[in-house]
Amino acid sequence: MQQISLYAKISNSQLKICLHALASLTGMDPITILQHTMVWAPAQKYTPKILPGQGGQLDQYRIHVTNDNKNEDKEKIISYVQSKDSKEDIHNLANRQWHFQIMEMPEAGKQKTTSQSISSWSVKKGDSFQFLQSLAYKFQYEYWQKGFQFVYGNAVIQLTRIHILDQTTKNIKLLDPSKQWLVKVYIDVGHLTDIEALNKAVKELEKVKTELHGLMNLEIPDRNAFDTRIR
């Protein structure tokens, strides 16, 4: 699928007003998000002989594996790194319903929004870690995203903060100690070739950007920041 998105950041003190404004705008209460993401990378570097005209076409990509902890009480936060000490934990974690994503670099050139191809699939059942290992992928790092989500028309508005494992306290802590929030507004479109739907989505996002002007400044980040390839 093709994902059209825009990003902004807001300080922690602005969050309350943003939540209230978005709740009024979208007519819904914010949905809390708690998402655990593990990033797996190919275990071995693939260095093919590049034939003329094939440059850049044989990149290796990381796989992002995400899991929504819908119910934090039932599904406690288990770190992959820490779960290695406990058979029960690793079994619990491996058998959660993981969602796999491989993300392409966003479209180059002058764009009104970030436009990125994403391949994704989900597992319904089974040990996802074994599956990844069978692909010759190995665990690289993990993070948690906590925050709020709104749906506005076709757009999804997410306000989240990235958390990482604190090795000393064994708890998760904020990646950004300034407590600020990352806002992502996105619309998923079926396919890159569906120009009509894409244009419609871009227009809709631009409208959201205008409507949220004053509350936050939605922008297009540098496309290099989206690079998930192995170098």
């Binding site: 709740a23 922008e219 920041a225």
Partner: protein
């Protein structure tokens, strides 16, 4: 010798004085009304005080422009008592009427106002407008506006939900850029805090 001197009225600037007298009466009347309102056991609504104050301001502006308009004549005019004035018995009244120096207490008021005006940077209407806009914005920052409710909800006493940021233990630090956050999520590059 004792013939009474006929006072010469021709050079008395009647018109200027009359217009001033009229405006001074108005101001004096308005001040009295305002003072009476303020001295009531219960204060009248602010809107009525505001109206009264506005009337007063208009009258003061009118008085001030009248004085400016007649300033030439008034500055050249010299007041003096006629020989027939009972100087001996009405010395007090004469002193009041002929006094040109400002009363000491009024002088104090003027000084006080001048001192206060030193700190005021607003000189023009435009500056006032800017100041007012800034002040309104500052005041707005002290409130949080939220909670769209229907009439029915208000009538039923439904309270709007209040969303609060989750408390996190984290120290203050440099703010990451969106790119730094994305580089971490996409490629695991730990941001280096400057």
């Amino acid at each position: 010798m004792n013939q009474p001197i006929e006072p010469d009225h021709i050079n008395v600037p009647t018109e200027a004085l009359e217009s001033l007298r009229l405006r001074l009466t108005q101001v004096s009347h308005s001040l009295n009304t305002l003072q009476a309102q303020l001295h009531q056991p219960t204060l009248p609504p602010w809107s009525s005080l505001h109206n009264q104050f506005n009337v007063l301001l208009t009258q003061l502006v009118s008085l001030s422009s009248t004085i400016t308009h007649q300033s030439d004549i008034l500055q050249q005019t010299v007041t003096f008592p006629l020989p027939a004035f009972p100087t001996a018995t009405e010395a007090g009244l004469m002193a009041t009427l002929l006094r040109k120096k400002i009363l000491p207490e009024v002088e104090e008021w003027c000084e006080e106002v001048k001192q206060k005006a030193l700190g005021v940077k607003i000189r023009t209407v435009d500056q006032y407008g800017e100041w007012a806009a800034e002040t309104v914005e500052e005041a707005k920052q002290e409130y949080e506006w939220y909670g769209l409710m229907t009439r029915e909800e208000v009538d039923n006493g439904v309270k709007p939900p209040v969303y609060v940021a989750p408390e996190e233990e984290a120290g203050e630090g440099a703010k990451l850029t969106i790119e730094q956050i994305l580089q971490f999520t996409c490629a695991g590059k730990m941001p280096t805090v400057a």
